[in-house]
């Protein structure tokens, strides 16, 4: 016997993501899904962003990690509520994992909730977490080929952070090639060239993020 299904494999995930999105809208929280390849410097960037905003916004973090709690400990040291999701080897977070940890936060007292996704550009792009915005971190040391290789990620992003801009002279990364590629995939994508390590460009990004949260709250 043949049974026709026509069911999307990610259908169940999409339904849960929809619930999360509605809840975040109701509470006026901006939910960010922060994604990158391994080694793009995402955790350091997140730490610096949180430090810049913590006196102006009520923040919390969901830390996705394959196995360790190291990154979550770095966030907790800033005095910011953080919950770690250990994916037990899975290469991405899914909406159910996020939903299950939401009760750990005081959602009525939050403005911005950042999910640090597992370091990997492929699978996380496919799993909607109910976020208001995907933010992709790319670093100058990764080379230009990430953008053409993972176009969906860059197409769906609400902002692109180009990290390690201080190392630009020591790499073969080309800013004009990046601009070209983005022009074909996602024209108008807000892009912030910065270095989490030196702090260069961090103000512009933090101010922009603050403005996004404020716009959300006014709605």
């Amino acid at each position: 016997m043949q049974i026709k299904l026509g069911q999307n494999l990610l259908g169940a995930n999409a339904a849960i993501a929809g619930e999360i999105r509605r809840l975040m809208e109701e509470k006026g929280i901006l939910l960010l899904n922060l994604m990158s390849s391994p080694g793009a410097g995402k955790t350091t960037l997140l730490e610096k962003t949180l430090a810049a905003l913590k006196d102006r916004l009520r923040l919390a973090v969901i830390e996705g990690d394959v196995a360790t709690t190291k990154d979550a400990e770095r966030i907790a040291r800033l005095g910011i509520p953080v919950v770690q999701i250990n994916t037990h080897g899975a290469c991405h977070l899914d909406a159910a994992m996020v939903r299950d940890v939401l009760p750990a936060f005081d959602l009525d007292g939050l403005d911005l909730l950042i999910v640090e996704n597992v370091g990997n550009l492929v699978c996380p792009a496919e799993f909607d977490l109910g976020e208001a915005m995907k933010v992709v971190v790319l670093s100058t040391t990764e080379g230009n080929d990430k953008v053409p290789k993972y176009p969906l990620m860059f197409r769906e992003a609400g902002a692109l952070l180009l990290n390690k801009i201080d190392l630009l002279p020591f790499t073969d990364f080309h800013l004009d090639e990046l601009a070209d590629d983005l022009g074909r995939i996602h024209p108008g994508l807000p892009r912030f060239d910065l270095s989490a390590r030196t702090g260069e460009g961090m103000d512009r990004w933090s101010e922009w993020l603050l403005a996004q949260v404020e716009e959300r709250r006014r709605r």
Binding site: Q2, L5, Q7, N8, L9, R155, R184
Partner: protein, 112 residues
């Protein structure tokens, strides 16, 4: 692997509803934009089909679909080459909607 696990999850709940005890074949449609590699899916399936839900040697058929876009300005439909050229081949516009390539769909399954 995660995708194949969700596949098994869906089948585990659907098969009993249709009185199917052993699944012999599953047909999937996979769009190029998902980056789900057919070889990797086949490998994951070869591991997961050892579960009692499947008949011995159960088969996974994968239909691959290219990425296609439609221009919001001029309405032209075109293949997005190399998953990359999100630029209208008709008018050169940027407002391209993805109409094919994101599928990850179980079309049907067969069994007794």
């Amino acid at each position: 692997m995660a995708l194949m696990e969700s596949l098994v999850g869906v089948l585990a709940s659907e098969a009993p509803r249709h009185n199917i005890a052993k699944i012999k074949k599953v047909k999937l449609t996979v769009g190029a934009l998902t980056h789900a590699l057919p070889d990797a899916l086949q490998f994951a399936f070869s591991v997961l089909r050892e579960q009692p839900l499947f008949a011995p040697g159960a088969e996974l058929e994968i239909e691959e679909r290219e990425t296609r876009g439609r221009c919001r300005d001029c309405g032209v439909e075109f293949a997005v080459e190399g998953n990359f050229g999100f630029l209208c081949s008709g008018c050169g516009g940027f407002a391209v909607e993805i109409i094919q390539g994101r599928e990850l769909q179980i079309d049907y399954f067969e069994g007794d």
